[in-house]
Amino acid sequence: MKLGFSKAEEEFRAEAADWLQGQMAGEFKDIKGITTLTEKAERRKEWEQQLAAHKWSCIGWPVEWGGRGASLAEQVIFAEEYARAGVPGRVNHIGIELAGPTILTFGTEEQKQRFLPGIAAGTTIFCQGFSEPNAGSDLGNVRTKARLDGDEWVVNGQKIWTSLAHISDWIFVVARSGEGSKGPKGLTFLMMDMHQPGIEIRPIEQINGDAEFNETFFDDARCPADSLIGTEGEGWRVAMGLLAFERGVSTLGQQMAFRNELDAIIAAAKDNGKANNPLIRQRIAKAEIGLRLMRYGALRMLSNTDHSAIDGAALTYKIQWATWRRGLGELAMDVLGQAGEIASGDAYEWDVLPNLFLYSRADTIYGGTNQIQRNQIAERGLGLPREPRGDK
């Protein structure tokens, strides 16, 4: 067991930190510190390309596809330095962290050539079309239909809660292709170009006033036959494989963003005197401890490379961070007091901490709600009986 990094790894850290901080002090100063998903989207697309130009876009990918084949430790380090430098989240994180690895794992050589360079270069932004009005937690219930028409797939139906659809170039869609099929069987995983008349997007306003997710309608939308990842009817397996990538190294970067949020709370508490309140002090300590344990949980998860035993750290990771961050939002408001409930201008727009309070209510919903996480932990982690379905 070893936590420290080697000298070479520390040199890598210095190199990454240097470059990132230089960018945030220079050419990309205007996007430093942004914490929302889509603010200044166009500039952030340019930032994607800047990363790619310097081979920092997807360092964990193989060299032949624009990556560096970076070691686990290097990926951890880069993710940490990225957030430490105040660089905003990747607008193409769905492409880099979900679509890319999915294509690397399940795609054909031809598909890799078609998609990976664009993702790596930061020119193809992806969004995720899984959820539907009647398929949320019960993802296997998707009804959007895909049928093969000559050498094209034709897609009809509706997706919902599609984050970033309005700034995306491509969407990956789980659709039902098996005539009369039900549940996870008969699903197909397709890559579709967003820029076509058959796809229509309507933004949905969120509780914080932003509109970062959307309804996505498919009305005879089309894609070439070979846009299918995996084989027809195997979409569930691909989708599940993709969800596993969500627990990758990117979590470490996310934690650094959490670090910045907790630091902002600590600064506010020192500023307004709440730091003298023993109950607030206990909660700050608990938040700090939770954040540290998240880091070491992630390192355990990433170090567990043989996957021989049930990986408890991985299985519990999502609910752990989501619940922690929701608590952080509440702590933020308790520290700010009533002042935190007043916007800084006339618009319904929120500074980092009040926005954290509002936005973190979504953390325990997307990517599998806390209840669904508990079901999975109990069933996969502890071997308890599966939830009964009502429609079987």
Binding site: M1, K2, L3, G4, F5, E9, L72, A73, V76, I266, A269, K270, A275, P278, R281, Q282, I284, A285, K286, E288, I289, G290, R292, L293, M294, Y296, G297, L299, R300, L302, S303, N304, T305, G312, A313, L315, T316, I319, Q320, Q371, Q373, R374, N375, I377, A378, E379, G381, L382, G383, L384, P385, E387, P388
Partner: protein, 352 residues
């Protein structure tokens, strides 16, 4: 960076787990509970047969010279069976003597501790003891396994000493204690002969680190065991024509236990690694581990009783052993509020 056991560590873990599963049975622990609160045979086997008592003692003094990660591994295994052994005082004494004992003190005690021949208890107090040369006077409350100890590691604000319990001026009164696997005693010193250890932050920290890691790791092992036993019960017991483990409210409580336990596991091994590697995070890691793991164990042990129903409330069932051990770990070597306050000071930049 490789936050996983090495092969050697995995082997130690397996050996320790098997040993305590096989030997620290409910029957034997209950026998110890009815007596002095120690399973002497178990402690001897642990020390002599397995050679684990010398785990952290340097090789030149008859030990294996291993670190906090290995100590955590065996404490986790011991804690998983609520074994009635004096590992806490033992680990603290090995660390304190190793770090701050004179050559004579090392030669006198380390080989005996490494062989599991001497039992040591930690006697810590916030009030100052009267120290007159090498004689100590004062009363120390709540000394775990104090009544069966041969040696006391006395820790007071002014320093640390070794005191032999057989020496003149030492009297010890054992108490009936809620957790009968680690009964508390009151130690009265009246001009008792004491050997001082070197006074430094490092020596003090060596002792406390070992103690906090033992308690945190015991708590982790205990919590994991309450989860496993409750899962097994939930698959066995049927109500309303279903396994009780199929009810969602029940499943979710077990899931919550696993979520906390996974964090507790990260906490223990983070702290142990940080101490072994001399990381500047070590202090925070220790406070985090002690407070987090104690709370986790208590939550899990409480759930174990609830999720067993009536049988969980009986003396006959082992749930109360875990519950009482968990309660005692929460306050032993400072409570959660103390540890979190230390963390708060660090993050608020007020560290002394």
């Amino acid at each position: 960076m490789e936050f996983a056991f090495t092969e050697e560590q995995a082997m130690i873990a397996e050996t320790a787990r098997d040993f305590f599963r096989e030997n620290a049975t409910s029957e034997r622990t209950r026998k110890a509970m009815a007596g002095e609160g120690i399973d002497r045979e178990l402690w001897q086997a642990f020390g002599a047969e397995l050679g684990l008592a010398g785990l952290t003692v340097p090789e030149e003094h008859g030990g294996s010279g291993l670190g906090m990660v290995e100590l955590a591994i065996i404490a986790e295994a011991a804690g998983s069976q609520v074994s009635a052994i004096p590992l806490l005082g033992h680990a603290m004494a090995c660390a304190a003597i190793g770090a701050g004992g004179s050559d004579e003190a090392k030669a006198a005690w380390l080989p005996r501790l490494a062989a599991g021949e001497a039992i040591c208890a930690i006697a810590s107090t916030h009030s100052t003891l009267e120290a007159d040369g090498d004689k100590l006077t004062g009363t120390i409350q709540c000394v775990p396994h104090g009544a069966v100890a041969d040696l006391l590691l006395v820790a007071a604000p002014k320093g640390m000493w070794l005191v032999e319990t057989a020496a003149k001026g030492v009297s010890i009164e054992g108490h009936t204690t809620m957790d009968q696997t680690r009964p508390l005693a009151t130690v009265m010193l009246d001009g008792a002969a004491a050997t001082p250890l070197a006074q430094s932050f490092d020596v003090t920290m060596a002792a406390w680190s070992a103690g906090w890691i033992v308690l945190a790791a015991e708590a982790l092992g205990g919590a994991q065991e309450t989860l496993e036993r409750t899962v097994a019960y939930s698959l066995d017991r049927v109500q309303f024509g279903r396994q009780i483990g199929s009810f969602q409210a029940y499943k979710h409580r077990l899931a919550d236990m696993m979520i906390e336990i996974e964090q507790a596991r990260s906490a223990v091994y983070w702290a142990a690694c940080a101490v072994d590697e001399g990381s500047d995070e070590a202090q925070m890691a220790l406070h985090a581990a002690k407070s987090f793991c104690a709370d986790t164990f208590f939550m899990c042990a409480g759930n174990m009783i609830q999720l067993h129903g009536g049988i969980g409330f009986t003396w006959e069932h082992d749930a109360h052993l875990f519950f009482k051990r968990a309660r005692s770990i929460q306050t032993m070597l400072m409570d959660g509020e103390f540890h979190r306050e230390q963390v708060a000071r660090m993050v608020l930049g007020e560290a002394a």
